[in-house]
Every structure is written in C-alpha cells, then in structure tokens.
Amino acid sequence: MKKRLLIANRSEIAIRITRAAHKLDMLAVVFQSDREPDALYLKYADEIIPACDAGNEKAIFLDPERIVNLALEHNIDLIHPGYGFLSENPDFAQLCVNNGINFIGPSPQLIRDMGLKTVAKSMAIQAGLPLVPGSDGPVKDAETAKTFADKIGYPIILKASAGGGGRGMRIVGKPENIERNFKSASDEALAAFGNGDMFIEKYLENPKHLEFQILGDKQGNVIHLGERECSLQRKHQKIIEESPSASVTPEMRKEMGEMAVRFAKSIGYYSAGTIEFIMDEDGSYFFMEMNTRIQVEHPVTEMVTGVDLVDWQIRIALGEELTLKQEDIQIKGWAIECRVNTEDTQNRFSPQTGFIDKIHFPQQDYIRIETGVQNSSVVTPYFDSMIAKIIVHGNDRPDVIQKTLAALYEFTLTGLKTTVPFCRVVLQHPDFVDASYTTRWIDQVYTPEMLENEEDEMIGALAATILYASEYLQLSSDLPTYKNDRLNVWVLNKRLNY
C-alpha cells in the first residue's frame, strides 16, 4: 500500500511537496482551508481533507491538535510541515511523534533547542563556531562596558537583557558616547522591564546574510550543499536569494561548510537544515542561528547542486541513509530566486489582496517556477503575500543576472501589484551587480522612484491618453466631420467600453 503523506501547509510549497511525494510513489494529502477553498495546490493533491476551519480562530495550518486528529482519522503515515506555520514548533513535532506519525524534520528536542537562541548559541560555541563578540553576561556599569567595547571595537550595541521592541537598546559608535548611552539605556530598561542589566555586543553596520544548507541522516552522516546569500531583505523578509554567494571564496566555503557540518554532527542533527551566518564588511563571519525546516529559498541550492532536498528530507525521515557524499556535491553555475509577493513596492511594501486577473510566467529550461496561484486566483488577507517564486539558473553570476532580468520582464500579472518591478530594479543596481549589497540595502539605498523610468512614464501617458481620447472623441462625434471616425485605426478599431 502506498504511504500517505500529509502536507500541513499550503500554496507553492504544498505543490512542491506533493511533487516530492509523487516521486517517492506516495499519496499526497492536503487540507482544504475555508479561508481559501479554491486554492491551486488542491488540484495537485491525491486526497483533500476538508479542514472546516471557517469558524476557528486559527487556520488549520496553525492548529496542531486538529492537524494530528485529522491525520489519525485519515491514516496518515508522515507529515511534512513545509515552512512557516508549525514547521519549527517543537510541540507540534512532539505531538506527531507521540501519535506515531512520522514528522518530516529533526527531532522535537532539536527544534526546541534551536528555537531558543541562547541554547543554540551555547551549542554553537561548543562546536567551535564563531559568535558575534559580546559579553557573556550583563556588564555592571558604564566603565566596564567601555573597557569591553575598547577590546572588541566600535560600533557596539547595548542591549537590555530583559529588552524587546528596541527599548533599552543603543548603538554606540564612539567611546565618548558610551557612558551617556549606557545610563539612558539602563534607566529605560529599568523603567520598562524593572531590570537595568545590560549586555554589550559588537554591532555590524552593513552585514551580509549567508546560510549553509546541510543534509543529515539518522545514521549520523552530514553533508553541506554550499551557501546561499539572502542579504536582500526587508524587515527580515528575504526577497532575492542567490547561490553561491559572491562574498564567499572557495576556501571560505570549505571552512564554513565544514563548520556547519561539524555543528550539525555535534548536536546529532538529521533532516534538511540551514545554518545562518552574519558576515561583516571585512569578511569575518559569525554564527546566528539554525533553521530546522525546509526554506523558501531551497530551490537555488537545488539548481546549483542538482540535489532534490525535499526528496531527501522525506527519505531521511523514513530512515534511509544519505548516499550522497561531500565530494559528490559540486556547485554548478549560479542561481537566483526572486520572490513574487503581492506587495506595493511603491508604497512601503504594503500587502495587496484581491483577484489576480491574469498571470503569465516565463518559460525556459533554465527557469523554474514555483507558484501557488493561477489566473483568477484570489489573494486573501489570511496568509502570506508570497504567491510564487521565479528561480533562474545561469552559467555564472553575470549570466544569471541577465537571464533573471529577462525572465522578470516577461512575467506579467494584472490585477495586483507585485515585488517583480522591485526585483528588476535590484538586479540592475550597481550594488547588486558588484555583489556589495547588504541587509540594509532597502533601508539605506532603495527609494520607490527607482522603480520609475522615462520610457514607462511616456508609454503610460500614451495609454492614459488613448483611454481618455476614445471617450473625448466619441463626445465630439456629434460633429458631422467625426462620423464613424471615433478612434484611431492604430488602436485596432476596437471601441472601449466606456
């Protein structure tokens, strides 16, 4: 009998996992949420479980009890959580395990450990990974803070140990400012949290976000699949990702990759995982955190390595041994992923909801499209604004940039605004072309005016004028000379519906 794999997720990743299930000759089972009963991913699944979550406060994808109960009712063997939702919720993973369902991911305990930053960091220290220099515990006064800061170098960031939401937090660029800032931050923290304890850490002004993909099995084999650079982000939401990274030399790749593998081995990690690093302008890098899920941007790694990560995730969950060896992993060419989010990049990336009128994707053998929508799909306010991903492979970085740009120009969507015009701007910007962009690029460099250009502006004026003219000339048609002469034949003699 075929194994039954339940996908506790939606949209493009549900379709991606369905594909992986079919490759392994399993049945893909999905939930139909009342919040989007006509979603595209339902069409690909072998079986649909109605979630009946209309009256529930949480959509089915966020409801561990209901997912597991429905899974048991429907004889589910494995659950794939995808990304987001409950993918890194240790209680959900534990609940699956307790009910005899194979949770596709690492052990619940490791999900819990990696979710607690202090625990994850101490485990990283044990494995010998570099961390952003900082105080191990609270510093007691401004004098001690200054001594510490002189040692690690400026700028530094002062963080209230009980802090949150930016309160009790100060970035200090010069030694003479540290005393004043320490006092005000400490007072602020004391007032806000009843605790004036302060930590001190080196502040990276223009960091890059790098992450290493790893695969580990239950037998203890671990390999890495190179890095991804995801520096182009807004409020920690990545928009463009690439693999490999132009900021990582082959030596660094080897060093960081070995580090990632060592860390994963030291904690007994299995399944697919990502080890995140933050890199300073001088090339020094530090461990940030580990993600225990499959990531949105996993296709760029698949494009350059040829390894099917979701396929391996499932096989590892079934106890299969990882037959890939480190030396089997070769990075071929370059890949870029652009996320298609329904957001208004002319207006602070505010989400757009409503109907997609028509959507058209570029088609080439070097382009991979992952989409959760089609013509006439509805983008609801209940879920994420990401509707699709355009992933392009090229021979090298300039080649893939040019191919991606062409792909983005071919992409069209009517009805809603997307991040695609923004991605076009990024791909043509010198900071992206020379790969010097950092996580602060959108805040520091990007302005909505960069989306505009004179050609589009002029053609827009033409379109607006034709619309206006067609009406205007119809009104003028009372005059005898305008008889049957309403609009330009250049406009194909089609009358507009005004």
Partner: protein, 182 residues
C-alpha cells in the same frame, strides 16, 4: 528641430498628459498613423488590447499597461507593474484653463502681423487648426511679390482676422495663434 508638419490639422486629437510629478507630455493621436509624442512621431506598435489593458512594442521592448483607476480626466496606469498617475486634458480645455502660456506678452509674440502693406491672396488654415512652426499660414501679396507668412510656433489657430482678397495695412493683426510649445 525638424518638427514641421508633425501635428496634422486636427487639434481635437491633441492632448496634454501631466504626471503627478509635473512632467508634461504632448500627445497627438492621429486617425491612422502612429502617435506623435512631444512633436516626434513614435514607432510604437499596438500589440494587444483587452478591456483596460494595452500592450505596446517600442524600441524592441514590450510595455504592459493596465488601467488601475480613473476619475474624470485623471487616470492611474500601471506600466510593467509600476503605477503612474496622470491627468489628461484636450488641447482646448488646456488652453481654456490658461494652463499654458498665460503670459500675455508671449501670446502677442505668436500672433501674425502683416510685415508690410498688401493683399491677402490665400489662407491655408481655418480657426481651430493645428499649425506647426514654419508652416505657411497665408500668402500676402505686396509690390507684386507673393510672400508666404509662416507660423513662428507650434500652436492652435485661434482667430483669423482677415479674409481672402482683403487688403491689409502694415502691422495689422492677421492671425491669432495660441502656442502649444511648452
């Protein structure tokens, strides 16, 4: 500037689009040839039209336009995914609103005055016609010589003060022209 004879006679096909950033475009939409934008005939192809979507080809590039919203003469158009706002005026309403060349001294400059006494032999234009700079407006015969009087601006013929066969004095106002140069 070889702009002569680009705007054909019909002023009702001339429009001004003003973007929200103040940038102005002068668009002439002829009956059966390509559009003229800011005095230049543009090799723009109309590829597709459906409801409120237009697709153009120009300079080897494709431009997808989508009408996002419209209110009276104001329109928001999405071009290749990016929104632009315009307000559109016909050239007549534009002039009526005094939105161009409200400077009266400038208006006088564009009027056609008889450079010498003589007789109007021929008039090539009528009121309301578009005229291009350098285009002949009328023929004035003086001392047995026929003189072609030409327009000194691109504009709309507001008033023709003389008739064919009429004799005129030096400095007499012949034709009033409203310039549309911006």
């Amino acid at each position: 500037m070889g702009t002569s004879y680009i705007y054909k006679r019909d002023a009702s096909r001339l429009f001004i689009a003003v973007r929200d950033n103040g940038k102005r475009f002068k668009l002439y939409i002829p009956k059966d040839s390509k559009p003229v934008i800011d005095g230049r005939e543009m090799d723009i192809d109309f590829v597709e039209q459906e409801d409120f979507h237009y697709t153009f080809d120009w300079n080897g590039k494709r431009f997808h336009c989508e009408l996002v919203s419209r209110d009276q003469n104001k329109a928001v158009v999405k071009v290749n995914g990016v929104e632009y706002k315009y307000s559109i005026e016909s050239i007549f309403s534009y002039i009526r609103r005094g939105m161009i060349n409200s400077d009266t001294s400038k208006i006088d400059e564009n009027n056609i005055i008889a450079p010498m006494p003589g007789k109007i032999v021929d008039i090539f234009l009528s009121e309301g016609d578009l005229v291009n700079v350098g285009e002949p407006i009328l023929v004035l015969e003086a001392m047995k010589m026929q003189n072609e009087i030409t327009a000194n601006c691109n504009g709309v013929v507001r008033k023709i003060k003389v008739q064919q066969g009429q004799s005129v004095m030096k400095d007499e106002l012949l034709v009033e022209i409203q310039s549309i140069d911006m």
